[in-house]
């Protein structure tokens, strides 16, 4: 009597609500940790999965946000001569668990994981950007060919959801005209070289911005910082007075 079974099931579910499932491992989440002011309770993560992430807290390089001695500048950043973005912050370290999560989201295309990624971004946002008056968010664009292949831009998707959560508008300020080889398959020098003049500022959506806008660039992972720097350069070409910051999920 499958009909009656489902009615009984429905009533039981009303009386005893079933535990939410962890978004990553699909196990029931037993202890829902209340606290840390997390309104993003729509992304349940079980304790085991949460432990896998190495959250970056306060001991970071002032510029690129990598784990370092607090309030100082790391050696890589000290070497950089031109700085287009003021600084960049990240939510977690790019450890094995994060690599797996990103691979699943970006390369396999499991877009339901966008919620998990955005919840991590939110953490970093609350730590670093919540007190700032941010005028808009923007994202690193993908070339048309890559966009057709992957069918979505992960930075755009995450930025869109984040914009929704924090109430800051999202504008697409950049375009990518030149197709580059996948960054993930190149070494450091190739990555740095590949990105010369790859981004173009596109002014269509920028007319709503105030004079010295505070813009936060969203991307998935900060490896060399070359992408963010180039993007920052392109934005400053278009809006010389802009203050550009970076926010990535992993570092």
């Amino acid at each position: 009597m499958n009909g009656w079974q489902s009615v009984v099931n429905g009533i039981l579910n009303l009386l005893y609500p079933s535990l939410p499932l962890c978004s990553l491992c699909a196990q029931p989440v037993r202890y829902v940790a209340q606290g840390a002011g997390e309104k993003g309770g729509t992304v349940p993560l079980c304790a085991v999965c949460k432990e896998q992430f190495a959250f970056i807290l306060d001991n970071i390089c002032k510029l690129c946000g990598r784990p370092w001695i607090a309030d100082t500048v790391c050696e890589d950043c000290a070497r950089r001569t031109e700085r287009y973005i003021h600084y960049s912050r990240s939510a977690v370290r790019y450890n094995e668990a994060m690599k797996g999560l990103l691979a699943q989201y970006k390369y396999r295309g499991d877009r339901k994981l966008a919620d998990v990624m955005v919840s991590l971004l939110l953490r970093a946002w609350r730590l670093h950007y919540a007190g700032m008056k941010v005028d808009c968010l923007t994202y690193i664009p993908l070339h048309e060919a890559r966009l057709l292949e992957r069918t979505f831009n992960q930075a755009q998707e995450m930025a869109c959801l984040l914009a929704h959560e924090v109430g800051v508008p999202l504008y697409g300020l950049l375009e990518r005209k030149k197709a580059t080889e996948k960054q993930s398959k190149q070494d450091r020098t190739s990555r740095l070289n590949a990105l010369q003049n790859v981004f173009h500022f596109s002014p269509e959506e920028a007319f709503m911005l105030p004079d010295c806008p505070v813009i936060v660039l969203i991307d998935d992972v900060y490896t060399t910082g070359a992408t963010l720097a180039e993007a920052g350069r392109a934005i400053k070409e278009g809006i010389p007075q802009a203050n550009v910051y970076g926010l990535t999920v992993a570092r």
């Binding site: 009909g3 009656w4 489902s6 009615v7 429905g10 396999r108 295309g109 499991d110 877009r111 339901k112 966009l147 057709l148 069918t151 979505f152 831009n153």
Partner: protein
Amino acid sequence: MKEEWLERICQRLQGRALLEEEVKWALRSWENELKKLEDKEMDDLLGLLVVSGKVQCTASLEAISKEGEEPFFSFFAWMKRMLRFGKENAKLAYHCNRCGADERDIHLVYCHRCRGECAYCRRCLVMGRSSCCVLYYLFPCNRRKAKQSIHAETALHSYPQLTEAQCAAARSALEFYEGPSDEKQEFLVWAVCGAGKTEVMFPLLRYLLENGRSVLWATPRRDVVLELAPRLQRAFPNYALAVLHGNTPPQEKWNADQLVLATTHQALRFYRRFDVVIMDEVDAYPYTSDDMLPFAVNRARTLSGKIVYLTATPRPDYQKRMQKPTNHKDFLPHVKIPVRYHGHPLPEPVICRESKLNNRLRTRKPIHTLLSFIENSEKRGRPVFIFVPAIRQLPILYDYILAHNENWKTKAATVHASDPEREAKVMALREGRLQALLTTTIMERGVTLSGIQVLVCQADAPVFDEAALVQIAGRAGRSASVPDGQVIFMAEEVTGAMKAAIRQIKKMNRLARELGYISYT
């Protein structure tokens, strides 16, 4: 030129159901000529395939309109619709053609390729993305002419080393295969742990291969595939064996062979190809928890093909089907192999109740059963497995044993699923450098060591269901030289699972005695 390419492609990829990306992958890794083709030319080639009618093509994920679905008014359907009214009252229901997934595993997104709403299937995502904008190609299998080179009896006689019980089971399987094809298509071989169920299938395999039939041997885990591959290769040296799993190199992944050994997930890529599918360990994870795998296995066999399930511990639903009367439509034909190849009975587990077990373990008060078990094994020089329900109890138990007996420090180790030294520790136990392994249920299957004694600590935990306990008890008494072994279920209370496991083992032993297979008392 194009025509002959089409022929060859259809020949090479026959009997498969592949996504667009998988077809391209297959073609690129096959012939150098094809490697050089641009994307656009590949698409043209595939288009030609479809137009020629040789290949069927659909979208891998389809939206089916829900309207007009119910000609018959049902009270429950009406209730469901009323309850659902608050939620998204979508008129479109999505269905994955590739793995048969329904709404629950399908996620709607905005897709750049479709410039609009699109959905993808999360259930078969491990094997590639099935989505509204991705095409799905079904390559039909050429009907092979059935020849009759050898008869069933010949196949049986070419394996004289099978024991009586194994022989009876093999004969039963052959009879089942030769039976009329419109009747039962599923068969279960219920072989106790250590009965040699792989060898039992050899006569059937020989019969099928010699008569030009194709066979798929599917098993849940990759390490079992890797373990079985050399054995099958040795048993059937004249036939090419395709070994498929997640990490097969591309040049081997698309072999079109008669005998295929693969993980169950790989069955998703086959379509109406095999005359017989042998499902090994059908009670193991993930086959039971994931609906996609039974669907894939069913689709991989031809319409008149048969499935043989191999297991030592069939799940309750299979057991119920086996108990029904023979002419019932749900009846599952089966054969039991109740005895191990060495002819000794299975060791029957003993239940020992210890009160306040958790407490005593933590505070290190003496627990008589555990301590005397360890002492006993130490005296007789036998390796020992102690099972605990979860990883977090391993350190507690380890400290407990050390607290009571210092010299176990070098002789005992803990093992769990994500332990990188798992193999090394099992090897150490085999060689005698370690005497005790504290472990979780990861060790319940597949490990064969001589002379083991087993203790299950906290056997009333939910993770120890009937199948798990029977498998654990099956670790003991595997070798002919040491056919007995102590098996103790230690718990605070006696659960139904514990009683059922012991009942099952006793029943098998009784059956074996009745059938005269037990050659020793």
